[in-house]
Structure formats: C-alpha cells, structure tokens
Amino acid sequence: MSSLKQNLYPISEINEIASGIFSFRISCPEVAEEAIPGQFVSILCGEFTLRRPISICEINREEGWIRIVFERRGSGTDWLSQRKVGDTLDMLAPIGNGYPEFDDKSKIILVGGGIGVPPMLALAKKYKDKCAVFLGFRDKSKEILTDEFKALTPDVFVATEDGSSGSKGFITAPLNEYDFGENAVICACGPIPLLKKLAELSAEKNIPAFISLEERMGCSAGACFGCVCNTVHGYKRVCKDGPVFNSSEVIFDG
C-alpha cells in the first residue's frame, strides 16, 4: 500500500514522442519506491486551481524516477508541455489503487487506445513476454511506444483507423481473433467505447478485465467525491477507489 506524497520534483528528461504528445521523466525516488502500475500522479500546472491527473507510464525503482506521457489537450497540459529539463513539478503521487497482482495468470492481455496506451507500458515492463499487447491509434501520427512494447514481448498488435500503421480499423478486430488460452486477464486503458467493448468481451469469454477510468477531478485525494464513476456498488471515486475497476462492476450508460 503506497502512501501519498506531495513535493517539488525535477524533470530529468523531456521528449516530444509524437506531435503534441510528450514524455517526461521525473526524478522522485520516494514515489518510484512505492508506485505500482495503474497508479497516477496529479500535477499543479501554473496558476490553475485544479491539478491535472496523468497516468504513470513507467516506474524505475532503482534509479528513482517515473515517466509520464501526456497529450497537449487544454490549458493545463499546454503549460506542462512548455516545461524544460530541470524545472520542478509540484506533484501529488502516487495516487489510486493500481492494477492487482497477476502472478497466477498465464497471459496478460494489454489493450491501450490512444493516450490510454502509456500506462500499459508499466504492466508490460512487469510481466514481459507473458503479455500480448494490443494498441489502437487514430493514425500513424498518434502512434506512440510501439517499439518499447516490442522490446518486452513479441506479441504486439497495432491498429490505426486509417490503416497508416498496422492493421486498418479498431484494435478490437485483432483482439477478437486472438486465442486467449486458459488463464488470461485483460488490462485496458482508453476511450469509453473501447472499454465498453472489452467489458462485453470479458463477460462473453469469461476472462476477467480490469479497466482504468478517468473523470474530472477535484482534490485527487479521495476527499471531495468529485470524480465518481457509476458501479454496481454505487458511485465510486476514480481517484481513490480506482482508477482501476473490474469491468464487470462498472455501469457505463451515463
């Protein structure tokens, strides 16, 4: 169980890995020590009132850093995208429940859609060639991290809507063709339509699926009940009860 920390941490590396998509390495030994895949960080961006929650993409305990990959979307991420190496970030971390342990599983199916792909990398680093990775992007200009997944496991499938990289269409197509075997688990992060499809697939094939949700957040600490999602057990906080939920418990409608 990790404990929450809030501090100023320096950015040690910055790369724009696709147009408008940035990878930051943040030096934070006390966070890297405790963080697990599926958790996120909450970063104060300039003078904005609310912190921006961003998934952890990679954790390096030995070297004391974490990596985040985010897309420039609004004013907060725009501010963040303009930071330089050496700048410090006011960060609250590590936050959330993270993915459960899957040591007893034979196959870990990782499914990432668009900017939902980065948190899957932390799982791929953990479970390596036990993973089969499915990455969906809008087009080649939005494709990120494919090579890094390929370095960890041979089973990597890419799909783009226009076919500019990998197969043409949605990532659910190759996923539906895949032989999951006897003892698999699905982990996913991405747009709601993708997560809904995975919840259906999970129910249909009786394979447990854990999905990472997002919602506009207030405190990021479980104190304000702003960021709830609907589940069979009532409204749950995405920041503290999640962000990872068993797909069978999530009520998607809206």
Partner: protein, 303 residues
C-alpha cells in the same frame, strides 16, 4: 509564538483554521501528508439522515481562479457518520464539526437529534448547498425559511449550533439576523456561489447538473464583503470562508470580523494550504507584536 486559540460558541480551537466541509472527506484523507491535529478543526462532509448517492458526474469544472462542483451531498448517512467516521476521529486533537443537511424540516431534525448524542463537538447546519433539489439552499434563501428551520433544529440540538449561509441570496444580513434570533450559536459563510461552464466542443454544460457551486480564490472578495457585513450585524461569532488560500487572506478575513476561518478549495491546489496558513498567521502576529489572534478580529478601520 502568538496565542492562536479561539473560542467559538464555547468550543475551544487550538488555532482558527478549520478544513471546510466537502473538501476534507471525513477528516482522514490527508493523514499521509500531515496529521489532522495540525488543524484547529475539521468540518466533515455534509451528511444527511439517510445515505445519498449525490449527482450524476461530471461533478467538477475548472473556472478562472476557481472551480465549480455539483457533488450533491454524496454521503453514507448519519448512522454511518456516528458509528464509523466520528469514532475514527475521536482520538485526534482537533475540533470535530458535523455538517448536517436535510431535504425537509423533519429529516434535518432527526439527523441533528442523532448527532446531538455523538462525539461531534459542534454541528454546522447546511442550509446553503446549491446542488440539491430539496433542502440546502431552499431553506437558506430567505429569512423566514431559514428562521423556521433553525427554530425547530434548536429545540433538539444539544451541541453548539453553527449555521452555514449561502451567498446566493438578496440580503445575507437579514438571513443572518433571523437565524441568530432563533438561537444559532455561530454562523459560517459563505457556501459556494452558483455558477456554470459550457464545453464548446460538445455544446453541453461541463457539469451534468448544468450548474454548480463556485469556490476558490476568485470568490474571496465576495466572501470577505459578506463576512464584513454580517459580522457587523450580529453578536454571535462568524466563521469566514470562501477562497482563503494564504495567511494574508486569513488576516483579511479576521480583520473583517471573522472569529475563525474555513479553508476548502485551496486544499485541492495545495494540500498543505491550511497548515501554511496557521504558520503564516503565527509569524505575522509575532512580527506585529500581537499576542492573540482574537485581538485582530473585526479590527479593520473602515471609512
């Protein structure tokens, strides 16, 4: 080291900084960062007689210099407050304030009755939540409805009673006076200002509730003005809140007439905000040779 202690309606606080309701859960969500005993008090999440699910999300929007929320009083109900959350706080050296809301007079009374027998130190009566269809602001919007509710609650309330007022009214002073006349021991203000944001891509409001309560630094001048007007008009203590983020804001509020302060949205931006306000206030008092924080309450020199 100045004397930061204050006494509100017979309740002793070690310092005047209280975490505002809705911003600090049931008091223990920030224990990893600092113990709740650093705070003079904590006003717990607004609780109703029966559990309430709250509003459909999204419940949060950002504004310039602040935010909107339409949480809608999601809470586990008063029995859970009394059996689980209050006992968990009982060993902690901080004043425990139960914030109680209701949908009609009966549910307010029954909830207050139950909490009157608990280990809460004080009850804050929520007649100002703008995010619920029944209760909340519906009671706090006029002197008559506010007074008649407080009159009934006063009969059953065995704890010091602080009534939390809304700014979404024509004349907060008349509501303050009416509530004082019915036996409120203290007032807290302001609750959130009703506001709205629209997502221009979807062309829908950001909040599923369409509108929500605004808080954060941008509301501070409105809150300060209302605290100043109210404190001059009543004899009972006024606890000031609304956009307080720094110790300087706290000094402004105290000068305006607040006997203590509540800090809410600032915690989202900086979880340590309340702790920093306590130490900043302490230093300013020392630097200005002021012995007690209560010495500056209401000391603004108005024209």
């Amino acid at each position: 080291m100045a004397d930061l202690s204050v006494n509100i309606a017979g309740v002793q606080f070690k310092n005047p900084v209280i975490a505002a309701s809705g911003c600090f859960g049931f008091g223990l969500d920030y224990e990893d960062l600092y113990p709740v005993s650093e705070l003079g008090g904590v006003s717990l999440k607004g609780t109703t007689l029966d559990a309430k699910p709250g509003n459909i999300p999204p419940r949060i929007a950002e504004t310039y210099g602040g935010m909107l929320n339409s949480v809608g009083l999601q809470n586990p109900g008063v029995d859970n407050l009394i059996n689980v959350h209050l006992p968990a706080l009982c060993g902690k050296d901080t004043v425990k304030i139960a914030n109680i809301a209701g949908k009609d007079v009966d549910t307010y009374i029954r909830a207050v009755e139950k909490v009157s027998d608990s280990c809460a130190d004080m009850i804050e009566l929520n007649i100002s939540c703008p995010n619920v269809k029944e209760g909340g602001l519906a009671f706090g919007a006029s002197p008559d409805t506010a007074a008649s509710l407080v009159k009934e609650v006063r009969k059953v309330c065995k704890k010091p009673l602080m009534v939390k007022l809304s700014p979404n009214v024509t004349d907060i002073v008349s509501i303050a006076r009416a509530v004082e006349a019915e036996g409120a021991d203290a007032l807290s203000l302001i609750n959130t200002l009703l506001g709205m944001r629209i997502d221009i891509r979807s062309r829908k409001p950001i909040l599923h509730n369409n509108v929500g309560g605004m808080s954060g630094r941008a509301v501070f001048p409105v809150a300060l003005r209302m605290v100043w007007q109210t404190a001059k008009a009543v004899s009972i203590p006024v606890v000031g809140m609304g956009g307080i983020a720094t110790w300087e804001d706290a000094v402004e509020m105290l000068l305006a007439g607040a006997s203590a302060l509540q800090v809410g949205a600032a915690i989202f931006t900086d979880p340590y905000a309340p702790v920093k306000i306590v130490s900043g206030l302490n230093k300013w008092l020392d630097d200005n040779n002021i012995k007690c924080v209560s010495d500056i309450v209401g000391q603004v020199k108005c024209y």
